[in-house]
């Protein structure tokens, strides 16, 4: 008898194969059907009571995922979030700057000199490490402390999957997977997290597309740069009572531009190196849950704000020291920094930036958070605004001061807009690049994911600059 004998694994597999033929039909479907039947019988027995006729969740969903109102409501909500952030961050930002940079900075410098600290040590420690850290904190902490809890509240309420639902169709039309909307949402927090989140996409082709384009979702480290530049350059163009709303709209526009670029890149990738059909999937809209406000504020302050700030500080301190060194080590008549900046200037001018900004982006590869502080430091140390080690201090303890300093460094409205565009589209930070490598295991795809956004950024800024200059000349 068959049953007496112990089969070897390969005999077992042959037997399974034979049985599969005998049963015929789609076994997978049979199984799934059996499971579903059991599940529905059990559920019918144990669940009683009826859902009420009026379902608030459904009513909200009908509105926020409606074809007509879905996207306008989304834009409105995000604008509101940025507007609250921008109008709320001004005062604490100026307050922090006036203390950290206006009061403490000259005081500790004076103390350091009075106890006979050598000028170069004061330079590295105070003009370098302290100043860059102080800038990071005063520029970034207030907007983050407002923006992250607000964003997290929206997330906890259950709004983000609705955004994904609204965008799903567009993603599919662009030749990518609808779930990419979710990994993009994660990317708005952190691109490294967004890249990991693409694991929910089963098809390797669509997953690669999602990884390559994730960087077009503005991350934690880049929001503060956007917000600051929007406030001091774009908000300043309009009367004071409109400034907050206009700056918020500027940030929303750049964010939406990032989404648009994502679609365009999806479309291009899925019709060139990653050709294929978009696969279908089902997206579950979770129930709305009233967010637990205090706990959300606590966790978003601890998880996001403190995390991002800590990362920025950790990178800002050594970067500050490095910046001071390159600004003070001289070769010939010029400092090392000036040599590098002069080298970068011709390229930078072509794309409407300047050497300082490009150099700052290079120094900021480990963490995008420090771009603005690096630009400010380099401007102070090289643009002849302040003699290194000398006591002359410009007013950097307010946003107006930052505006003046950047203007002295040669910034115009065009520079600011280009910097915002370049912030949106340039190479990912080193953590994200490493994550992409870990997830794809391929140098080729990592290189593409790194260089493609950079190419897009250069293209955008170059195009805008040329058009802008033509229009200026024509006017």
């Amino acid at each position: 008898m068959e049953k007496e004998k112990t089969l070897t694994p390969s005999e077992l597999l042959t037997m399974a194969e034979d049985l599969r033929w005998q049963i015929g039909g789609n076994i997978h479907e049979h199984l799934v059907e059996g499971i579903y039947t059991d599940a529905s019988r059990i559920a019918d027995r144990v669940v009683t009571g009826e859902r009420p006729k009026f379902d608030l969740d459904r009513a909200i969903d009908r509105l926020v995922t409606s074809r007509v109102w879905g996207i306008p409501i989304m834009i409105l909500l995000f604008t509101l979030v940025f507007w609250i952030t921008i109008s709320g961050a001004n005062i604490p930002s100026d307050f922090l700057a006036s203390i950290l940079i206006g009061k403490i900075y000259p005081a500790i410098k004076e103390i350091a000199f009075s106890i006979g600290t050598p000028w170069w040590l004061v330079g590295i420690l105070i003009d370098g490490m302290y100043l860059s850290t102080a800038w990071v904190i005063s520029v970034m902490l207030p907007p983050m402390a407002i923006f992250f809890p607000l964003f997290t509240l929206l997330e906890d309420f259950g709004y983000l999957p609705r955004v994904a639902f609204n965008l799903d169709n567009l993603f599919k039309k662009s030749g990518a997977h609808g779930k990419q909307a979710l990994s993009m949402m994660m990317g708005f927090g952190c691109n490294a997290a967004g890249v990991i989140a693409t694991r929910i996409i089963d098809s390797p082709r669509e997953r690669l597309i999602a990884i390559i384009t994730n960087n077009f979702a503005l991350c934690n480290g880049r929001w503060p740069t956007m917000i600051l530049l929007a406030v001091i350059f774009i908000g300043a163009l309009v009367p004071a009572h409109l400034a907050g709303m206009i700056s918020a709209l500027a940030v929303v526009s750049v964010t939406l531009l990032g989404v648009l670029i994502t679609f365009v890149m999806n479309w291009l990738l899925s019709r060139s190196i990653l050709r294929g059909e978009a696969s279908a999937f089902s997206l579950e809209l979770p129930p709305y849950r009233p967010p637990r406000i205090l706990q959300t504020i606590y966790t978003s302050l601890i998880d996001r704000t403190a995390y991002v700030l800590w990362r920025a500080v950790v990178f800002a301190m050594p970067a500050g020291a490095a910046i001071w060194l390159v600004a003070n080590l001289t070769i010939g008549d010029l400092s090392l920094a000036e040599h590098i900046i002069n080298l970068l200037n011709p390229v930078a001018v072509l794309i409407g930036l300047n050497g300082v900004i490009l150099f700052a982006y290079m120094l900021a590869i480990p963490a995008n958070e420090i771009v603005i502080p690096t630009v400010l430091m380099l401007t102070v140390l090289t643009a002849g605004v302040q003699g290194a080690g000398a006591g002359v201090l410009y007013e950097l303890d307010s946003q107006a001061g930052t505006f003046e300093l950047l203007t002295l460094g040669g910034w115009s409205l065009l520079t600011a807009v280009n910097t915002m565009l370049f912030t949106l589209a340039h190479n990912p930070c080193s953590t994200t690049i490493y994550t992409i490598y870990k997830e794809t295991g391929s140098v080729k795809w990592t290189a593409i994911a790194t260089l493609l956004p950079l190419g897009v950024g250069v293209g955008l800024t170059f195009g805008l600059t040329q058009v802008w200059r033509l229009v200026e000349a024509w006017l």
């Binding site: 077992l12 059907e33 059996g34 059990i42 009571g49 983000l160 779930k179 089963d202």
Partner: protein, 279 residues
Amino acid sequence: MTAEFKPASTAACETCPVHQSAYLMKLGVDMQNWDYAVALAGNPNTGKSTIFNALTGLKQHTGNWPGKTVTRAEGGFEHAGLNFKVVDLPGTYSLLSTTVDEEIARDFILFGQPDVTVVVVDVTRLERNLNLVLQILEITDRAVICLNLMDEAARHGLKIAHRSLARDLGVPVVPTTARSGEGLDHLVRTIGEVASGKIKYSPHRIQNLSPALTSALDRLSVHIENLYPALPNARWVAMRLLDGDERITQALEQGELGHLSPAATNEPQAIQNLESQPA
């Protein structure tokens, strides 16, 4: 595992941890200094991460959207003097297809053989959640069903007869509202009871299959049991083989399934227990 850290009670066989230390190690879970391994499974967005945080006291951010946990989070808690390691698995709707997250969850429950698998269920969507529950109960009989979001069920006017659900499923069912912490102490006690193995459960097995499929499953599982007498889930392995599951086919060919029999791991366990006997 060093002998000194093992509490005396594990010397008795009915309370032997069943988890596969070697496999858990391979899956990246270090079981040193832990008595029991607890897996948290469930559909996406049922509050697994909230339960995880409540059990472990960790404060990982929990988001209200499906697919938030793609990587595995780990933590632990102590109950009745024993140390429980908790592994939060990615949320999945089933264990039948082959997406990365489903594979992570499936491999962990099958090869890691956690001492307890807690299936977190969104009670407002019980029927759909049961699909996953039934699949997990085919793999392991050491499961606890956590009926979460009881507050929302009440808000929607739903009543759940959790005792008759426990009878139908053949494993303990604990109603909870993780957000406010309701029912969690009961959950911890139940995890402890199931982990200790003092009560044997005979969980629900999928019934409504066609006669042809049922008889094929019976024939195949007899042979699988012959080959690996101590394998706890021969019928499920038979199901996967008939379905042409590549990972399970490979596990069979390479003899991985053989290692899952408790007999294969009892040996080192026995030696350890001897060593831990006072001289």
